[in-house]
Amino acid sequence: MPFNILVLSCLAYVIFLFGVAWAAERRADRGRLGWLQSPLIYTLSLSIYCTAWTFYGAVGYAARSGLEFLTIYLGPTIVFIGWWWVLRKLVRIGRQQRVTSIADLISSRFGKSNLLGVIVTVIAVVAATPYIALQLQSVTLSFSVFASPTDDGFAPPGTEATAVWVACGLALFTILFGTRNLDAKEQHHGIVTAIAVEAVVKLIALIAVGMFVVWGMADGPADMIARISASDVADWKLQPGRWAGLLFAAGAAVICLPRMFQVMVVENADERHLATASWAFPLYLFAMSLFIVPIAVMGLERLPATANPDMFVLTLPLAEGQGALAMLAFLGGFSSATSMVIVESIALATMVSNHIVMPVWLRLRPAKAVSGDVRRLVLLSRRISIGVVLGFGYAYYRMSGGSTALAAIGLIAFVGVAQFLPAMIFGIFWRGATRIGAALGMTVGFVVWAYTLFLPSFGPDAVIPAMVFIEGPFGIEWLRPRALFGVATMDPLLHALFWSMVLNTAAFLTGSLFTFPGPVERMQGAAFVRVFDTTSGSPRGWERGLADPEDLLVMSQRIMGDDDALMFFEAEAKGQGKAGYLPDPTPDFMARLERRLAGSVGAATAHAMMSQLAGRATVTVEDLMAVASESAQIMEYSARLESQQEEVTRTARALREANEKLMQLSIQKDAFLSQISHELRTPMTSIRAFSEILTEGDLPPEMVANYGRIIHDEAKRLTRLLDDLLDLSVLENGTVQLNLGLANLSPMIDRALASASHTKPERSFVIHRDLPMENIFIRTDADRLVQVFINLISNARKYCDATAPELRISVRQRGGRVTVDFADNGSGIPKASQALIFEKFARLTDQTRAGGAGLGLAICREVMANLGGTITYLPGQGGAAFRVAVPLRLERKAD
């Protein structure tokens, strides 16, 4: 097949995936998750376990080593069927602690230790490098196999060039779709859906090739079985040690691989999906492995002995002249490679940015950590990390010469990530596990792995001199990389697995037994180990009232974005029975906020940032440990008491507030009547006095005219007041007639601005607008909405006390709602008065009788309630700021 057609097909396929990802992302943005969050998609996304290695390499593996390839499928099957309770615990912890990656999980478990985050990240990146190289290699290999029988002059470019292009293309795709959202808990719906599609493609491709082999080339299953019995594959002998070791490595890998952790825990939307996956995923693996042996046997039988068995899936259909089938197989392999690289690099990039870039940056610029724009930095560092991770993969591919069998490279990675296993499993089941133990264990395991397996994989003399393999370093024979402690007869892979896991676990246990966990560590340990134990209160790290909620809001806006932060704070305040955006800084709230922030920047960083605001900047975890390591048990106990205390206090507060509210309502009713009386009598006084003066007669004509005008003005004032009162009463009763229609927001704002310019016309206001954003059609009562806008703009004109007054009108569309913010640059409304302004007759400045009777904002609030929207005061925006939110389509009158 001509090379350029091949490239075009790949491009078309990638564009198709892009479309799928984009459509899913759009759906998720509109809040219509639906089937995007189904157990089926979840199970299919788990299939990134089957990379190009399983797609191409498994056949090669079977051709070389018989049924041993099955261990790669059996390991995960055993874990999903037999160890689902471990997975469930991991998923529960991941959701509760808003874990962003496996590094975050381990760092978070051991007292939010950043050291552990760094260790895990480094191991993960190093171990993933050969694995990513493997994908690049298999795609490159399949390209060259496919394009080689060209006879029309389109020779494929060199394989190195192909590999570079593949690496760059994958980096681009990953960056475009993997780093759109910051909060990892917002999940990559687009990517996950695209991966589910790829999972289907690779399964169909492999089964199609298998069925072609069994029914097209052989004469059905019976003939196939006869051919298998006759082939070399049937002579395969089980090696119990290697079999057990590989089962263990594959089982560990399915838990520890950063990309598996990403789809299994981080992208998990519902714990129940795991129940489906626990049988559906093994089923998928079974289907993937069903035709491996037939394809391998048929390849050995039909193809020349020089043919690379790793490419049988491709070369068999090609040799039989089945171009379309070969193309399908090629896309299947391409799918396997791309999905793995995309998720792996997203997972690694999150780890690198959260555990290496952010902590360094936080330490370098501690003063600005809270105020700077963290979001852009995090996203940028993730994008760069993706590039770097893929760059490493490419470099390994070049260095290892691209010649090793695919399966061998994959196993190196498996053993590498298995080093996380002791820290992870002990961490979630044993409260005595400590940070030092975890750090020691993983470091020792990593060093042993690198020395006995990873570095030798570059070949003798590449990193480790050939002499070291024979004589040991410095002539120390028992330190030979392939024969540690004199164990020379073991298979190299098994040797590395055995020694790294034994030494890792030993170091971990020793470290844990000889060190005592600090208080934060103990609390996290309890939270992790007893994640299913709902009766014990979650451990509290924050004391009441240390941080100013407005500061917290400002910081959260920098990290989560304005809208999400405001929404989160509003919901929290509502949960405490408070209106507005500023909840009390209770330990519960602080803990939830920390977890939420951890979803964006990782547990350790979030903890550090919160500490800065809670006045704990100077108290490090180490200090705390020194002070309180003895009293850890007591602290835990008192935390539980405190949580009960908290509950009682909250109920009492709710009751007190309800009572106060009732009393206030009664007082308000009296005050309201008295206010109305006052507001009515005042203009009446002028009218009565002047009309009596006029009837008494003999006045100069200009005085008659003047007094007539006063009577007229006061009568108008009276009418306006009555109109407002009637309007308010109709709005409050919900008997208002709404005039619904489709209208563009932009002309509505134009109208409001023109109308409001009559208020204090002598003030020149600078108005900032974003016209393209305003171009939204809303189905609502346009006149009523304009009435609200006029009120807000007039208020700004009246009360904004800046010398060069400015008003910024910004429009956002999100989901089915449109928000319009009006923010001026004055001194704003004092915190104590913010709750009052929407009440009737709540004029804050009595002196400035700026017209109106103090009913404007009360009417606005009622209008918005009738339009199914809200009007709220936005604290922390510099000046006075109001947010009007309306539904995009108001179908009928809201209650």
């Binding site: 008295s674 009386s677 006052h678 009598r681 005042t682 009446m684 006084t685 002028s686 009218i687 009565r688 006095a689 002047f690 009596e692 003066i693 008494e696 006063i710 003005d713 006061e714 009595d846 002196q847």
Partner: protein, 122 residues
Amino acid sequence: MTARVLLIEDEPNITEAIRFILSRDGCDVTALADGAGAIAAVQAAKPDLVILDLMLPGVSGLEILAQLRADPATKTLPVMMLTAKGQGRDREAAERAGASHFMTKPFSNDDMRAAVRALTGG
């Protein structure tokens, strides 16, 4: 003798009406729009009568009245309270605080004239 009246009222139109009515009746009316400078103005102008609105921006009329009654120099000074609220409670409060007369808005011009005449001994 011309009666001097100090009027403390924040609504400019009402001030204008009272000033017109009383001026035509031979009074010398000085007006003040808020309660802040009220005590100083009374001490400086030594009026024969103070007409005081109950609801003033800044200081309330009742507070001003209480201060006037506390000072021996103005203890017996005639003070007429004006209010637009007109509830029984307000009248009682004003009388307890020592108001000489209490008048509700809106008022008839004749009542106003008669009350001022009675309080200034005219």
